[in-house]
Symmetry: C2
């Protein structure tokens, strides 16, 4: 998905969010805004949002050194998600359709990330999804039957991770199908917002159910031109790809075939582009 | 109120909103974002948001000529508000406390402006406030008794207008007290977002209940250093000033005495600064 003009205010919001994690000094926040402002004329409408975000991160890296601004948040999300992991498993065990419940929970994990960065109460969100009558808000496009069929015949599945913490929910989903096939779980190579890295995947035990690799990317989305050769080989050969979250959708939505995008629609631009409504959950093959 | 760093993303949003009213061409929207980006390093944290907005408008004026981007929206708001004017009057007539009801309606007018620029349904908002059980959402600070006392002894009242359309609601309020005192109604001198100008005040019949003047300002807030000498004389001599909307609050909140600010809290920065909660209505003397 190419960038839209309305992504620009969001880059400034993201920069401010990062600045606040780094320091309480408003003068430094303002400096960061100035740095992003200098990038705006270079932001071409032909690029994807994760590519833009990558440029922004590079500027901050130059300015603040190799800061992992979201380290604290990622650690906390991982720990909290691991605490509820047994309850997620119970929920799947009690379900009539284990795969569907696991899919719904995987998207719920994506919601919790959103809560973390907004004013929603995370504990409340978690309690909501652990309730017996939990059902994801609204399903936009949700190609579950097709997904099930494609998954059945896939021998290798590449799973593109999104955020730390959320990957525990991905693990629950992967555990539903990893017995019969090889699963490769790809994370970012370097810090990009609160996206999962190798250390997060290992902390959350993903290495017990899948082969964990780095995509080679330092952007908050799997931008193929920045991926490693090793990753691209796996990407091209996998029978099925599960792409989690908006960032990966933004980076890969122009591709065709074999990719199931699984995400919650968190912004109006994505809603428009994906033909879904804000707040919808989407499972869609492109 | 001095600008906060988080006002910067909002300036980009506002620029995009203006761009969309002007043209559907996304390349021109992007050019406008580039123009705003060039201003960001010049935005000092010591200035108020209306001062920043003024600089942005000047850039657009240079780029697009003397465009009144919001002319269509303002005309529509004026017409719609004039249509419901008789119903607003009935509502006040039926009320046990006419002044309070008129105050509440004046703030409701401020809500409708917000609806116009967001995804809320304006007609729904209007129907809501015309209902018999209408009461403004939550009152934050609401110094009604003090206001009533100060108004009773005031011989001259200066009313600082906010948006077109909304001024019909202001008229209903002014009609509750203009019989016993002189009222001066001040509008912006040049287009600033959808703020009311002289032509709007006359269309909405404000000249029948008050002396309508221009503040001399071309910013979306009464920034005193850009006001005319004539306005400043009135501003300094008025017994009571009613300042409507967030823009005027931003411009004048550092002043002291005689100003009652009347607005709905529409953004988190104003909420923090005014000690109210997002969505609250505020009537407060500073």
């Amino acid at each position: 998905m190419k960038m839209f003009v309305e992504c620009i205010p969001c880059f400034f919001k993201q920069a401010l969010e990062m600045g606040r994690l780094f320091t309480g000094n408003e003068l430094i926040h303002k400096e960061m805004m100035d740095e992003v402002a200098a990038l705006v004329p270079k932001f071409s409408l032909g690029l994807t949002p994760p590519e833009m975000a990558r440029e922004m991160h590079q500027v901050f890296e130059k300015r603040f050194g190799g800061q992992d601004f979201y380290k604290g948040i990622k650690d906390k999300s991982n720990r909290r998600a691991m605490e509820i992991y047994p309850k997620l498993k119970e929920k799947v065990a009690r379900s009539n359709d284990r795969l569907l419940t696991a899919l719904e929970l995987a998207i719920a994990g994506n919601v919790i990330d959103y809560a973390a960065k907004n004013t929603l109460n995370i504990e409340e969100e978690i309690q909501k999804l652990l309730r017996d009558d939990f059902a994801p808000v609204e399903k936009g496009v949700f190609e579950y039957e097709d997904f099930k069929k494609d998954l059945e015949v896939a021998e290798t599945v590449l799973y593109l991770a999104d955020n730390a913490g959320e990957i525990v929910f991905d693990r629950v989903l992967i555990e539903e199908f990893c017995g019969q096939r090889k699963v490769i779980f790809a994370v970012r190579d370097k810090p990009a917002i609160n996206d999962a890295l190798l250390e997060d995947a290992i902390f959350c035990g993903i290495d017990k159910v899948a082969e964990v690799i780095s995509s080679g990317v330092d952007a908050p989305g799997t931008v193929l031109k920045y991926c490693s050769q090793e990753f691209l080989r796996i990407f091209n050969q996998a029978d099925l790809i599960i792409s989690k979250g908006q960032g990966n959708y933004e980076a890969l939505s122009e591709g065709r075939g074999r990719i199931y995008f699984l995400f919650k629609v968190k912004c109006p631009v994505i809603a428009r582009h994906s033909g879904a409504t804000l707040g919808d959950i989407v499972l869609r093959r492109i």
